[in-house]
Symmetry: C2
Subunit: 499 residues, 2 copies
């Protein structure tokens, strides 16, 4: 413990890199926590959900489908990495609202921002951003969203959530693709303008988007056609007949399975090439490829930098766009702002979508993806300036407190711990993997995985499952090595008690 404190207190880390730009940060002041007043550790008083949560679930279920609710939270008393529930249980939150709370709960910097009358007005006067943006909107986009843009991307379109970011990014890709097909002309034929009104080609063209087995890109009907993680997301909903390629399934540890994993990359890439040809032949050419840098809902499936480099090359060769879906990976949890920065790609992806930790949805894109006409990617709100306000606070704290470095530090500690569990409990967990604190470990059965997640919660640790077999860690960026120690201690107890 003393060692951890020393690490965080030491004045070594005065320079912080956030996305390439070097920034002087002040020395980390806090010892084991970055949020003053945070609980020392979890405390569990009742079952979870406890009696009050169960009562509220019944109330909610009378109004809507509430079967996914795990507990009711007391957001007034939650703080930092600790989620407090209505029964007074204090949970170390290693899941953070499905990976969407970058600074945990009630971060003082964010509360502070809402003391400002201008900011309050930003919340009350929500504009139709595409038509009547506020005076500070271009500056806000430049100073907030573009400051952390993936290297090489200088355009951004804002949206509301992950699904609609992917959905509209796909629309942008279709528009770009057809614009190319017209040789860059902005003229539409009468046949096109008329046929699209009745959902027929050529105006509504038979274009496709390639996605991967195990992918999750959202649940609106376009995004859902590219989602293949669990049947419960998809069943009974009509879908587009679009190509689906295999995503690498690696053996772990990576360093001991290099030959097999390289072959797996090649197998998947060959499928991608093949599907391009197949769908072109059947009259539904692939306009774009959508892929997560780490398949998250699908089970924290990772692929190598080589896989992504080749995927980018193949997409380009086939005249298709590469959309990197960073809705869950973006915003810092892998130790870089964008996970694809780990891949050493040959230039940026064509489009990068975001949401969750970024507080609002949207996508960065190359300039030629800007639609040639207005009103093509459009809706009433086009995002929400009040969320950009929060993001501005988040990014300032990330810089000030050197949180991307902290993510790497805490992540190393977590991964080292998970690897030791693989050795200690080989029949219970394997394939520890991930980047930064964006980590996962896999169980031999869904039953065991669900059981581990449930018993972790009984010990005061909120985690989440992903895929059929994995436990995923999605802590906030303010998760310190001290929190990692608490998590690892509880996880080891749970594993031990399983024996």
């Amino acid at each position: 413990m003393a060692q951890i404190c020393k690490k965080l207190i030491s004045p070594l880390k005065k320079i912080n890199r956030l996305n390439g730009s070097v920034q002087v940060t002040h020395t980390l002041r806090a010892a084991s926590t970055l949020v003053a007043g945070e609980p020392e550790g979890p405390t569990v008083k009742t079952d979870i959900p406890g009696p009050k949560s169960r009562q509220l679930v019944a109330e909610l279920n009378a109004l809507q489908q509430a079967g996914a609710v795990q507990l009711f939270a007391d957001y007034d008393h939650s703080l930092g990495n600790y989620l407090v529930d209505v029964d007074g249980n204090v949970l170390l939150d290693v899941y953070t609202q499905i990976s969407s709370m970058p600074l945990g709960y009630n971060h003082p910097e964010l509360l502070q921002r809402l003391n400002d009358p201008h900011n309050i007005k930003t919340i009350v006067n929500r504009p139709a951003l595409g038509v009547f943006p506020g005076a500070d909107w271009p500056a806000k986009l430049r100073d907030v969203l573009l400051q952390v843009a993936p290297p090489g991307l200088k355009h951004v379109t804002t949206m509301m959530c992950g699904s609609c970011s992917n959905e509209n990014a796909l629309k942008n890709i279709f528009i770009w693709y057809q614009h190319k097909q017209r040789g860059g002309s902005s003229d539409f034929s009468r046949e096109e303008t008329e046929s699209c009104m009745v959902n027929q080609s050529p105006g509504s063209p038979s274009l496709s988007v390639m996605s991967f087995w195990g992918a999750f890109h959202g649940r609106t009907l376009g995004a859902l056609s590219t989602t293949h993680s669990k049947y419960i997301h998809k069943i009974d909903i009509p879908a587009f007949d679009w190509p689906i390629a295999s995503f690498p399934q690696y053996r772990y540890p990576l360093e001991e399975n290099k030959r097999e994993n390289d072959a797996e990359d090649k197998r998947c890439l060959a499928e991608v090439e093949d599907l391009f040809a197949q769908f072109s032949k059947k009259g539904s050419p692939v306009a774009g490829v959508i892929v997560e840098p780490i398949q998250s809902e699908g089970g924290d499936n990772e692929a190598s930098p080589y896989f992504f480099q080749e995927l980018q090359r193949i997409a380009k060769k086939n005249g298709a766009a590469l959309l990197m879906d960073e809705v869950q990976t973006g915003g810092g949890p892998t130790g870089k702002m964008w996970c694809h920065e780990h891949f050493n790609l040959d230039g940026p992806p064509d489009v990068v979508t975001f949401s969750k930790k970024m507080q609002l949805g949207g996508y960065y894109h190359k300039p030629d993806f800007k639609p040639p006409q207005p009103y093509r990617v459009f809706n009433t709100w086009m995002g929400d300036p009040s969320k950009l306000l929060l993001l501005q606070g988040v990014l300032e704290v990330i810089r000030r407190d050197a949180l991307l470095d902290l993510v790497q530090k805490s992540g190393e500690k977590l991964l080292t711990g998970l690897r030791s569990f693989e050795r200690e409990f080989p029949q219970l967990v394997h394939s520890a993997r991930g980047r930064g604190t964006f980590l996962a470990i896999t169980c031999p059965s869904t039953k065991l995985r669900d059981d581990l997640v449930a018993r972790l919660k009984k010990k005061g640790v909120q985690t989440g499952g992903c895929g059929e077999l994995s436990v995923r860690l999605r802590p906030a960026l303010i998760f310190t090595p001290k929190h990692a120690d608490i998590f690892l201690d509880k996880f080891r107890q749970v594993l031990k008690e399983t024996k």
Copy 2:
């Protein structure tokens, strides 16, 4: 003027009906405005967009497609019904951010709510509502959203925006439809669970949704397949092959064209019946019909109560759901909370979607539309409690200030004025129509319509076009007869100067 003031000051109106529930309201205190400090009238100092707006458009256009921007607003100084732009122009806003600002700008009641520390925490701690809702969420749904639910609907699912509300409501309808096909069983076959993962039937069934010519239901790929208002929304985007029926095109004034309009209703309804049969025959049965109570983007096209009553009957007869899209009509502008309340339907629609004036998206639905399993209609955020907070304030002001009555009063004045213009300028405008302040008037050409809207703006009045030929009025609910006088005066000047 004295008369208007008298009307509003008079203590007659102590009882207000909001959605059937009778409430005692205190007497309207304000004379000609409900927001203290509101400007006396519009003032225009520069071209619109003025030099500062034009500079900002250039800045924004370097980052994204900014071709739809009309002006940059100064939201700190906008107030009530008046939108102030960055060049200091003060516009009477009869368009209100595409109909999404129920109380205009900087309403004191809403600013006041954000002085409260609990409310500030609601903004900062955004939960994944489907998994970890806050303690007050069921009560908030009951006390806010369900207080104004369409009569007969007691379930509600929250979302983020209009498109995703319609998109998820359609998903709900597909789920309901297939559940019926299974005879109410919740078991899926292995063939279904496996085929849906690759976007094929029977798991991804070939079901369709019927929509109408001229409809606008949003821009995500499902909603866009039901949208048929302008080609620029749809071109180059793949679409589902779903049925499209004619929506009535009436002659105005209605009372002089009863026979033709009745025949028009019957023609459209026969098409609906015919499409049900056609799509059933071709193996793509209609699971639901989506319709706006007034087609808004499509040109403020109205249909009779008879049309909607029959539509409901035909949908029911064919085992399909009726989805009433109240994204633009909901929240009071027609003088009732929900426009379909004007139709005297045989029971509520199966699903009613909302967004815009309601501050957050979502849909009300009948109990049998609650999906039998969790995680089927789901996403990370599932709405936004901070918007419900604003809606709570909005609804309290609607009650307190008897705004639905005001809408009727101001609407009558506006419609009377528009009708007088039809008589005075028959070659320029016709077909004045609408309910409450949700009104429109039509020009003989798009050129003239655009010219009227532009010249109204030069006189300090912000309106909007809809369809190819119409001017639409979408004032806030705090638009008083005094504001109607200003609008009518400016509009008459513009029409006179056109002669």
